[in-house]
Symmetry: C2
Subunit: 418 residues, 2 copies
């Protein structure tokens, strides 16, 4: 079949399903999530068999171990999907509320009603779990979705998609509420991000290359996450044991996450003491330090940082370290080299905390806490579709509310405009 | 000077100014607005002289009367700009509030702080008043702005820009907080909408062609307004005198606005009576009716509508009229042919009103009120940067809040993630 016709068909069906979903009750949507969970549980063997085929193909094509690990499913990961569906079902309804109703001088009453976005296009890479994570959030928020997973996981995603379809049918919901693109043709991505007649928003989840390509070519608004170049600044007079705990957690809790610290900024007045305390633990954990000249003087095993290091998102056991003359230089450095994702200050100065909060232009700004807290679950959103580094619509961790918008509702008694 | 260097320079300066603006107090921003108003008042002659040059050039290039009228300034329109600055200064501060602070299980406290978007790029056509309207909203909301007006108004916009710069300087604010692109080179638009390092959002104000081009080429999120194909549906059993008042107001109050009704849908049960009441007044006002076959039978002077008429945004004394079998067909028609802008029902049925509100997928949905109310001022927003037909970020009339976003602020006492 012609790819463009196929994608148009998906778009048209999604739009129709979206109208039905938008009118469904919370009970119907939650019931659909539980029916999908049941189908997944029943079809474990089929899903694992499809996944085994994906894995065999991936290995024969020479995919590296990290990719294969992301691709692999097992009983525990399937339990995780089922748990995810139940957890999303337990969340409050993100749509339907009408609020801020006020009476205007003309006599009309104006309010805002929280409604689904419509059709959400999701483009992601190897992890087949995302098929369930993304579908569950879209169903819960009353959106139809078109999912485009990585070509290496096409069999796994297909098997999961059949469970989703069956679960939707069990619950009396349209099977086309969730559609998984069933071709590995890379042109499908290009087609999806230009289906502006049918798709309301694109959420890409993957590497920077994928997201940059999508942003450049999309004709549809994109909720995206680019880099996480996160900083911790240890202010003059900070509690050094707190600084150590936060820095070690922010860097070494997980190396590959977007909210991991990539650059540590030290006030010059405490740089020697801080490095004496934090340096050995970083070294013990195998973290390479790339330092400014002063850092390298204080830490003899540090490597000299280049200009590029200040911009780097390592996603690895590497940390850039720089001494600064104080709060002003720290803020300037973060706003210049950072990615406006998550940045923290460790401080005892109230006024410094206030200035850092206000002046650092990032989606999450923290005082005396690890950058690793930048997360939908830690923020109490109940779920996370991604972390946005954009400034419009949703900034920072995006929960169910990010998949909704508000329309104006106006109640009159025959008013006309004069 | 090389255009690309020039635009990069504007972007860089805007970004710097944005950081200063974001930290300014409400008093400083309001004072800047009043200083600009004073400069405009002092420089009336200069502005009018520049505008006279624009008008002379426009006439010699054969611009039509409507365009020339939009371009023309006079004492009253300059009074309007001054009044606009004072009105925006009187509005509450859209930034700075931190709310929803909650304590999470980990002990961190998480809240959201309302902040400016940063740098707003505004692209507009002939009306030089927009230079003030847009600048005032950006300054008030703490955003820097780069304005790209129509080439036919470049001298007027330049004269106004000098008043803005002088007013900003009077108030001790950076003069580069508002920058007007001073070249008529059309490539400047292309450069502005791809300055993704410096510009956070693009707001185009103009015709559909301009907006479609910008949406296709922008590398930056766009808050846009495309069509306004607005409907009024007169439900079975509706009060016909109310239906007449609303239909006449929605169609004839102003023909050229986006919230003007373009299609009237009549329940078949009352079509004859409704047309007998509304038809003569439409005819008296010189409105051409393009009707479905039944409408044409009932109204002998109506022209037969084609399929294209149901999609048309006439912006003229033309109205499409269609009879429908009831609420379902009306909703289906609106969601299929409409532009998701503003649609109204005239009804006495409570359940029909509820269903129309919920099922019509438009940014404004109204019961028993004229579509002409879809407007930032009528909705109590205090000001309007435009009306968005997008679903993300802002939907419907966009006020000062549409020029802001919320960042997460996290307050800890040394918490790390386990």
């Amino acid at each position: 079949m012609d790819l463009s016709d196929y994608m148009l068909g998906l778009g048209r069906q999604a739009k129709q399903a979206a109208r039905i979903l938008a009118l469904s009750t919370l009970s119907q949507r939650n019931h659909a999530l539980m029916c999908i969970a049941k189908r997944i549980d029943q079809q474990r063997e089929l899903i694992l068999a499809a996944n085994a085929e994906d894995l065999a193909a991936a290995k024969s094509e020479g995919l590296d171990d990290a990719m294969c690990d992301r691709l692999a499913l097992n009983a525990e990961r399937i339990d995780g999907m089922i748990g995810n569906l139940a957890q999303v079902a337990s969340l409050p309804d993100p749509i339907g509320a009408t609020d801020q109703i006020r009476t205007m001088p003309s006599g009309i009453r104006v309010g805002k009603m929280r409604v689904p976005l419509g059709v959400v296009g999701i483009i992601y890479e190897s992890r087949p779990n995302v098929t369930i994570e993304a579908s569950s959030l879209c169903i819960k928020s009353g959106n139809a979705t078109i999912l485009r997973g990585g070509s290496e996981s096409i069999r796994s995603n297909g098997a999961i998609a059949r469970c989703i379809e069956a679960g939707l049918a069990d619950a009396g919901m349209p099977e086309t509420a969730v559609q998984v693109v069933n071709t590995t043709d890379r042109a499908a991505v290009g087609a999806l991000i230009t289906l502006d007649k049918f798709v309301d928003v694109i959420v890409p989840r993957g590497g920077k290359g994928l997201i940059e390509r999508i942003t450049a070519e999309a004709r549809i608004p994109v909720i995206k996450h680019l880099d996480g170049v996160c900083h911790v600044f240890v202010d003059e007079g900070a509690d050094l044991s707190m600084a150590k705990a936060i820095a070690i957690n922010a860097k070494t809790h997980r190396y590959g996450t977007c909210n991991t610290m990539e650059t540590l900024l030290l006030d010059r007045s405490l740089a020697a003491d801080a490095l004496a305390l934090i340096g050995p633990e970083l070294r013990a954990k195998g973290v390479e330090v790339r330092g400014c000249p002063e850092t390298c003087r204080l830490l003899d095993w540090a490597v000299v940082a280049t200009e590029d290091d200040w911009y780097a998102e390592y996603l690895a056991p590497i940390l850039a370290v720089k001494t600064v003359s104080g709060l002003d230089e720290a803020i300037e450095h973060i706003n210049t080299y950072g990615s406006h994702h998550t940045d923290a200050i460790v401080t005892n100065h109230h006024a410094h905390a206030e200035r850092f909060m206000r002046e650092v232009d990032s989606s999450s700004v923290m005082v005396n806490a690890s950058t690793r807290f930048a997360d939908g679950f830690e923020y109490g959103l109940g779920a996370e579709i991604g972390i946005s580094t954009d400034k419009i619509h949703a900034r920072g961790p995006v929960g169910l509310e990010g998949l909704t918008s508000q329309k104006y509702v106006v109640f009159g008694t025959g008013q006309v405009r004069s």
